[in-house]
Assembly symmetry: D3
Homo-oligomer: 236 residues x 6
């Protein structure tokens, strides 16, 4: 179980994945945003939490549990620690479901922070009703075992083309999911809050007609002074 | 025209495609859920009805009707029986539309139950306004004849990677569309209602913190007793 | 900067992309609808305006601006003329963003008419809040420079599989984006308004149970008379 | 069974698919070349013959013949007329085979002219040994019935994104397969022979250093005279 | 290290993957043929051996070995047991290499039986010269570490959409690679040899003009008698 | 026209694209290998030369040259400097040809070094006969103008997902094509020759049974000494 400080968790809940991918990119981490993984609905709450992983391999008729839902899958729902995000490596295959509303409901009841798969979720209306942030490739009703076989828990995996190690911090918003290494998450969160504040200032300036020159992406001296004044005025 | 009993139709309107694919899978039918076929909007009513099929092949400039909308397409809209779902084999090609709002409006006016294509629908706002459940791959404005040539009606087809025979029962919800063979549809519907009731019970239990062990997917003795009590209490 | 008459602009704001692709197809223009380019949200206002283009090529670590956001991108936001649509050729690659909310906000503040990319947009909630019509392939948070390098402005480009020449007229609705050559846009708009009026009449007729025969897509004498009467009654 | 004159057959055996697609395109037929359909080996003999078609739909466990190879498939091998090409609509799906060496061997023994599928062939070494021209998407060993169900014979189909009507003339070379409407095949073949002769002349000229200006694709007066002289010298 | 009897190995070297997938399918194993995995050249020797697996996840700049070739990869080359096939789960991603000629040369020198990846191999000319059977998706020159991070050895993996457990028997021919569970491999091999003999008989019969009826795929009494006579004549 | 020293050209003709991508990757250039671009035949000579580029956008019926082959295309064949490689940005679209044997023959006759497209080539047998190294996605017979419109010459382009600037050095072997910035090409070539020599040594060592430990990819002291001795023995 990974420690994620309350301050960092709260900070991450207030910043966007675009801000975070920008910061990670400047630190040399260029492949941290999951491709083709999206929220099941547009109005989900934001998601923040350390990763707890499950790996699927293709199903095979001669393996116990093929065609059904193995105990490993249920175990993941029972053991994913509170505050954590269950991340499923479904090899990008959404022909059958990675999980459904009862499993997601159990994660929710146990205080988990979200579920992410690069395959599909089923019962998406039910999943949505649990209130747990849930990300997938697309809705998929067929039972998991037709395509997938859960093979192990909490090993490093790939999800949406990104490496996810147990304990990595996942942040999700309406645009998708970003992965943050835990050893830099506090610094990244702090920087993200500052960047977000500046973006808020810049958005207001842009909305009232200010040019991007000296404002964004390169910040000139004048913009720096104006930003300081803006912060003072808002008592930030 | 296929008979679909009123009781079965009503039952199917109350169960999810995930429940149905689960039941079909246990009966050995593993490929009954259309891939990459989704509702045009999230708030559609559910869809239930027997399939009436239309097949497209690629358009060719030397064939009458190429570049336009052939009489066969209009015929499908005029002859798809009330209560039925028009299912279009568009070879998964959404570069041009399979149908638009006037065609869908006519289906609606004639009492049809829905339209499904593995290609695209155009005028999706207008289609949505007709109120008819409509499923496709993605919105596509270009006229059908640029890409498609309607070639025959009510033959077995493929749609979304699933075989659809005329008279098969189609059920659609927010997650997609499942195909049910008509000879087992009554039994499947009955089982689905029972499963749905149990799922409702299990969801409540999960929401109040009960473990999945003995509850789902494997149902233990205790859960069976609790379920009976729950049903009694609700006078189901 | 292209002239687009106020009358034509207003006409185009009232007609659908399906009507326009139909008219263009009858004039022999069969590939004018962008594939896999969709509105960032379903509730966007319609978009009409001449194209102002920007071209991306793949990023390369040895080129200035790689890994960051080059001055060319900002220049596009500052120079896209009011009333115009910024169209980005991202080679269909949505692994990184084509633009975000500050850039889109600047386009909005400067009176531009929209933004279209066959890649991805980031900060889609912020983009949505600007109110500017925005079309993309899918949301994508990573900064542009990880994947893209802006290379030139206002050359002919490809976007969503369609050729876009600077000054072409773009029209977007909930189904997507269509491109209209400027030399025929007045005639196309006029025809589209007439077609839309007939469609409105036909929709009403269909809704009250009239057959498609002689009504759509082929219009018979009776329908012509009824349409004239309908127009008179509505004083159109 | 389609008549294809011996003269036209021989002419088509000597011209390339690129020459034929060029001629068809100038006649307004723009989509006659199968996409992603290639010879199983580079050293196949050329293929010419009228189309005899078979259509697959997705397999389903409740349909007789699912999981095995139905009588319809064998019937196609026994009844495809001599000199004809068996064309299979496999919906572009190569996850299981469309046919193997015994089936192809039977076609060969019965004097058929080739086999084409937009799915896969199995036993490609054995298929190659039969000497019959064979085209597919890629090699695929699994038995047909895992994925496909043969549903009808000699209806119009799609193959490789092209409409194929029974009796259409198919021509295959190392680059792929082109479809020619039978009512224009004699004229197309004649034109193709003439074009091929000019191309041969032009290739020689180009090889010895002549500029393309006035030679290709636009043919100037000088090139016309030189071509006549070249033909005379070769007594063509 | 898995035992594979010499008799079974030799039997499997003489039968095709199409014969094996047919036998496995009749035993209910329907997904044992790797998709989009092909020999690097057409003239490779056949491949037979138990699987020794390596798993890749996406590379990440903050993980040791990213950008380079980690010790795990070398370890796999040094420890894959003689007679075994190294199978790499590259998530179907061929943007960078899974291995090159030095690694493959080492496998060859150590007496391994082959290498299979659902990603790409580099130096394919050098790999070919080693003589080791090698299967991949397509050639790919970039060094592994740009895209892949080797994460563990000899766990169950997916490769080409098929589950591969350490010790599974892999067989490769010019069409691709099939996976056989070790507990049935002797029976499968025996059946495959018998089937192959019958196929050889049937091919000869077909080549001399015999109908498929009663010969293939259903074998009638007469064909059974003829086959017995054919075997006697060949003293098989 | 770019200068490429004879020494560097000869060096590059003797090294593999895998060696070059490795060297470029160590210099921080990670995306220089074209994806899905392959030689038209396996037995092509290697290709080395500076890039001369042509850009295609999608064809449009209202633009001169649509449906035919424009003068720009011919101009590229006439003006690509001797020793250079013509690189075509076809947006990865192989539905129609990028060039055919007459165009390629002209390049050859004029002393050009190769042709590369991320679309398709037609007349591949004829192209092969010219002897010019030619790379594409797959064979495609339809005339260019059905899909493509040549729009400009010698601007920076994307090809196979890689940025190509005029004057970049392209190297092709049987595995594909790599792009090298001209300002580092001499150093890269020199390093590649040295690396290739070591690889040759290592291959021999591996073939005779030496372990990879200390040999590859990390080179230990002993291997360094042995390599020196090997070079001395071969008088390199």
């Amino acid at each position: 179980m990974t420690d994620l400080s309350q301050a960092t968790r709260e900070a991450l809940l207030r910043v966007g994945t675009s801000t975070l991918t920008g910061i990670l990119s400047r630190r040399g981490l260029r492949n941290m945003f999951m491709q083709e993984v999206r929220p099941i609905r547009q109005d989900l709450p934001r998601m923040v939490g350390p990763a707890y992983t499950m790996r699927f391999i293709p199903a095979r008729e001669d393996k116990a549990g093929a065609g059904g839902r193995g105990p490993l899958q249920r175990q993941a729902m029972e053991e994913c620690p509170p505050g954590h995000v269950l991340v499923v490596d479904a090899r990008g295959d959404a022909r059958a479901a990675s999980a459904g509303d009862l499993y997601v409901g159990r994660l929710r009841a146990r205080g988990c922070a979200g579920i992410v798969t690069d395959g599909g979720l089923r019962d998406t209306d039910g999943v949505h009703k649990t209130g747990l942030p849930a990300y997938h490739r697309r809705a998929s009703s067929p039972p998991s075992g037709i395509v997938h076989h859960p093979i192990d828990i909490n090993l490093p995996i790939g999800c949406g083309g990104v490496a996810v190690y147990p304990g990595d911090i996942l942040v999700g918003d309406c645009d998708g999911v970003v992965v943050i290494p835990p050893d830099i998450v506090d610094a990244v969160a702090e920087e993200a809050v500052a960047t977000t504040l500046y973006d808020e200032f810049a958005e207001e300036e842009v909305a009232r007609g200010r040019s991007l020159v000296g404002l964004f992406p390169v910040v000139g001296e004048e913009a720096k002074r104006d930003f300081e004044a803006w912060k003072k005025a808002r008592s930030v």
